[in-house]
Point group: C2
Chain length 695, copies 2
């Protein structure tokens, strides 16, 4: 059957509609769960209010940033407004704004549901692991469905209205701008609060982690939501949109227009991915005394299998859909799952690596750090090989169809890897929800048994988080490779218009390319350093505020009835400080791209993107995995191994965990977004670099 | 004047002869300095004997390794012995053996002089800073002159005898094999001993650093010599030879034979570099109460200036010497000096960064680590920019002469950067000599004043070490870029013989190249992780031995008169263990190259080398600088800042230093060698990859 564009678009919008309807159903289901405990309700409301405060401020600054960016886009992109057809500039600007707004709405919905699920999951835990798991998982699923639904809706609508895949890059850049803020800003916020709460509470005063006397305790819980729910959601929204955008740009080089069969393949696969995630979420179940980690993982495998089967059916059904493309996307997905599993090997505390790091802690914290850094480095290898092999396989299998198909094959491997992103986000958002539940169960005095159940749910969240992080880095890797292809396609479009010779590639023996590679490789290192130093500076401000409150609020330290700390102040400081620290880092990455492009032109930028991708992947994998490894080796010691809580090994393991926190929750995952932002800036500014560069 | 090949060769051999004569003079001068104190003489002899034991075992294993490598080279390189002219295979094999042997001799000489200078410098310190400085510096200079003399001698002799620059790659590979052993093996040895001595002595027993009761104390001092003197010497021997080899291969693509003007330019510059270093060493002076850091740095600047002037004169004098090439080499040298200075900014304790890390230590060791990692990442940026800019500049300025000249320009920038390597090694070898002196002064009871003077000399050694490390990484960076050019030249020679289409470059849009890049980038991370884990494992063995001695040797712990620990046993364990840990890491890097080459062919290897170089440079700079930063921030605290010795900040700073030790002395600088080894393996195996690869 010939795939009419209208059929495929209809399929896409249908998938989006089903996703939204299902998300509303799940949200209402969560809302129906009882919430009786007044303390839990009060604290949960505080967390919700704090998260909203943060998001409001973040979105305000973001609006200013996006406003400036929108004006620049309107003036300069795709070309100077004085030069060509200004309608295109309007289209690009509107697409950019739509990208930021849709991503922001998805993030907002995620926070809304997460903050109403946490307390309910805690109370459900009184009845057992099964009901609590369902509340946590379904709360997370709303976020997953919203993110994928809005991203597919946005991309399809923009392409349908604009009729030019370059404009989709504008939408993608909007999503990236938001992701840069949400991920890095949320990452700085959450670690600022976490570190300050630990330093003043656990270390200085010796009070428990979630003690309500600590002025930073609400900020800490808010951080879980804004960093892990909203931040991760925006990150994967960004990757998903970028993968589709790159595939669409490359599809246009094959089809010649945007209604062709390659373009339709992209939408068909994306829509089927969303439907697979919906089925995976709908069928997620756990036994009465089931293992939550296994439940989460098996839903992922179910989704994967459904996607592979559905896309095979589509390929058989629709004329012009190629089996080679199907194979590329299936391999992409498979490699994504494999990367997740190897990540798990390095960070799961039932596996040998975590135990070895815990054992090394006996000799002191320096050995915790050295062994963690070493295994973190080693852990990057399998994922790098996985990305390399899937890109090579996708290219080689599609190359017989023609060279444009070969690059398109890599892009479809990325789309394939990201097809189950709805399921991945659901699993990931589940983590912070049950993490909050554990704190709420303790503050609400729900008893030992309930806390134990919450602990079990939380631990599953941590394990699955490692898998989803590996997965999202792998997906970003493949996506940016195809963005490199999209960059070349954009450059060639400009060169063709100017009647100049087209680029056939970027030769590393060309020193302009090499120049770009070396500088591009240094950017993720500096970017992540700026974020980590930002956490440190911001934490110092917050610690000063906490000290002030303990000094000035009478009765706070003693826990006098009715005396409450000023939670808002801490939230305000973390919010303002996170933004202050983020902006230089983000600007640095963007300006470095512009400077290299203006000096070395498009060839230097080709190299710059390569260096940026390669060192970015390496560092992101290293930092995320080392952080997860230290976190779980601390938990392993706390579970009574190697001397248990309070031993010297435990102290050393805590140092590892403190180092690992900004590694895995601030710097590591933000590098993903940095890479995507830089790749999109390069593609969007391609005309500028062609026209103005020195060399 | 037309530069006859014979004139330039004569100049080269003359420079070598002068260097050797001067080295002998300096050695005799050092030997004439008095050595009266019996304790110092005894301990100094123990150190010398320990170093000799280590070197003997290392060279024995190395001989076995080199023997196997020599057989493989004879059978397969430059082509299968059954295929072509076996005379070439004999030449390659002999060149390889000569490379290992000459580097080994230079290392042996360095150790010999260093271990006879340390005690003399300690005794000279009783008379003041001036005589002690001269002993330390001149002892180090013998090593510098030996390394550069033997490397120039070897390269010139091999080329003169073989008449083919490809054979020089064999010599270079020999030097690299030795460097891999000397640098990584010495690095594991020295940190094993250091860590074990600290853990058992300072931490468990609370005895001072250089207490003779500690069975590891001699091993610790031996480590300074084998790691910093022999290891660094072999590393720079390797870089220097590799830079010349790459330049010679590229010169042959210009000249068509090996007697042409480009080849003569290489030798002329190398000879003038050696002469400049001789002049710089001969004029090195320090005032009666002078500043040793300033004295060391000003000799470097003097050498730099002399080299730039002499090469300008040669360019004016000799017909066919190009000003463009002179400019390229001058810029290379200048950038090397700038990289050194920026490294100094990040690691000198009078500059703000070290102070900030010391201040962060107040909040605990996690913050020492986080801030050190962050600034370590940032510190890589200026060096990466420096290497990128000098490569781009060298290429652009030479490109008008023709495309072969452009790559040759980059190679000459590397030769320029390495021209003052004699001076650099002198400064660097000075460090471990005066470090040993400090320990000997303490053990020999030379009094507070003498120890203070030794401390001052030692501190200058640490500062200058940072500069030389930055310099050697920068030089390795430029060298491997030209090795990439040499690799392509080798591949094209093979392709031309087979009548196949020549390579014009490596396109990063080609997924086979990209595949190589991703995997190549992961190799330095895994290699350095294996070395660091090796230190950890080896230290555990040594700590067990120290515990055994304290348990079984009666009276040792109490320091009973006449009771001595079994120092040899510790040296044996460190020696055997270091080799055991090194070999898998070295084989891993070499095998990865072979596997990638056999899968993806020469294109994948081009990408592989690029990824390897880029991530290797980034990690080497990060690890070396972070390590130096932590070391000096500990010293800064110990000097009485941020609470001084014994404070909480001091404990945190010690953790930083312990993490930094294997970073800066084992893993970081070994990455240099790993990059060179991999680049040379790739060039040598180019015919194999052309013939046998899958893709």
């Amino acid at each position: 059957m010939e795939p009419a564009a209208s059929t495929i678009y209809a399929l896409s919008f249908l998938a989006v509609a089903v996703a939204f309807a299902f998300a509303v159903y799940l949200h209402l289901w969560v809302k129906r769960q009882p919430t009786d405990n007044p303390t839990i309700r009060r604290v949960s409301d505080l967390i919700k209010a704090g998260a909203n405060t943060f998001m409001r401020k973040e979105y305000k600054i973001l609006a200013a940033f996006a406003g400036v960016a929108a004006v620049l886009i309107f003036l300069f992109l795709p070309q100077g407004i004085w030069e060509g057809d200004w309608h295109e500039n309007v289209g690009m600007t509107l697409a950019y704004i739509a990208g930021t707004v849709l991503s922001a709405i998805a993030g907002k919905i995620g926070i809304l549901v997460a903050t109403s699920s946490n307390g309910r999951a805690a109370e459900a835990a009184r009845k057992g692991i099964q009901p609590a798991f369902m509340v946590g998982f379904r709360g997370g699923a709303v976020m997953g469905l919203a993110v994928v639904g809005f991203s597919l809706l946005g991309v399809a609508a923009v392409l349908l209205l604009a009729g030019d895949s370059s404009i989709v890059l504008g939408f993608s850049f909007g999503a990236s701008s938001l992701a840069l803020f949400a991920k890095a800003d949320g990452g700085i916020f959450t670690k600022t609060a976490d570190v300050s709460a630990d330093l003043t509470g656990k270390v200085e005063l010796g009070i428990p982690e979630d003690d309500p006397r600590n002025p930073a305790v609400i900020a800490d819980n808010v951080g879980d939501n804004v960093g892990d729910v909203a931040g991760m959601g925006a990150d994967l929204f960004d990757s998903n949109v970028a993968a589709m955008a790159a595939a669409l740009v490359l599809a246009q080089t094959i089809d010649g227009d945007t209604g062709g069969v390659s373009t339709m393949t992209v939408f068909c696969y994306a829509a089927l991915g969303l439907l697979s995630s919906i089925l995976g979420i709908a069928t997620a179940r756990i036994g009465k005394h089931g293992n939550p980690t296994r439940a989460l993982n098996s839903s992922t495998y179910v989704t994967t299998a459904i996607f592979v089967v559905l896309t095979a059916l589509a390929t058989a059904l629709f004329e012009g859909f190629r089996w080679e493309i199907w194979a590329a996307s299936a391999v992409g997905l498979l490699v994504g799952v494999i990367i997740g599993i190897t990540t798990d090997y390095f960070t799961d505390d039932t596996k040998p690596i975590v135990k070895r790091v815990a054992h090394a802690s006996h000799s002191g914290s320096a050995f915790t750090i050295l062994s963690g850094v070493s295994y973190g480095f080693v852990s990057a290898l399998p994922a790098m090989i996985g990305i390399a092999v899937s890109a090579l396989f996708a290219y080689q299998i599609c190359a017989p169809l023609g060279s444009s198909y070969a690059l398109f094959g890599i892009a479809m491997a990325a789309v394939g890897m990201l097809s189950i992103v709805g399921m991945i986000i659901s699993n990931d958002a589940y983590g912070p929800i049950v993490d909050n539940s554990r704190g709420l169960a303790e503050m609400g005095g729900l008893g030992e048994d309930t806390i134990r159940i919450c602990d079990e749910l939380d631990s599953a969240g941590n394990t699955v988080k490692a898998v989803t992080k590996g997965f999202s880095i792998g997906a970003a890797g493949l996506t940016v490779i195809s963005l490199l292809g999209a960059f070349m396609a954009e450059v060639n479009e400009v060169l063709a218009e100017r009647g100049e010779e087209l680029l056939t590639g970027f030769d590393i023996m060309n020193p302009t390319v090499f120049f770009g590679v070396l500088i591009g490789a240094a950017i993720p290192a500096v970017f992540s350093a700026m974020l980590m130093l930002g956490v440190d500076k911001n934490a110092q401000r917050m610690v000063a505020e906490i000290h002030r409150q303990f000094r000035e609020i009478a009765g706070l330290r003693e826990g006098k009835e009715g005396v409450q700390p000023e939670y808002d102040k801490c939230i305000d400081i973390a919010t303002a400080g996170a933004l202050r620290e983020l902006i230089p880092a983000g600007l640095f990455a963007i300006l470095a791209t512009v400077v290299v492009g203006l000096i070395g032109g498009v060839r230097a930028i080709g190299g710059f993107l390569l260096g940026n991708i390669v060192s970015g992947l390496l560092l992101a994998l290293f930092m995320s995995n080392a952080g997860g490894l230290w976190d779980n080796s601390k938990k392993y010691v706390e579970a009574g191994n190697e001397g248990g809580k309070g031993s010297e090994a435990h102290k050393a393991a805590v140092v590892g965990d403190t180092v690992g926190d900004p590694f895995k929750d601030t710097a590591g995952p933000s590098i993903n977004t940095q890479i995507t932002v830089v790749s999109l800036v390069a593609s969007l500014l391609a005309p500028l670099f062609v026209a103005l560069s020195i060399f």
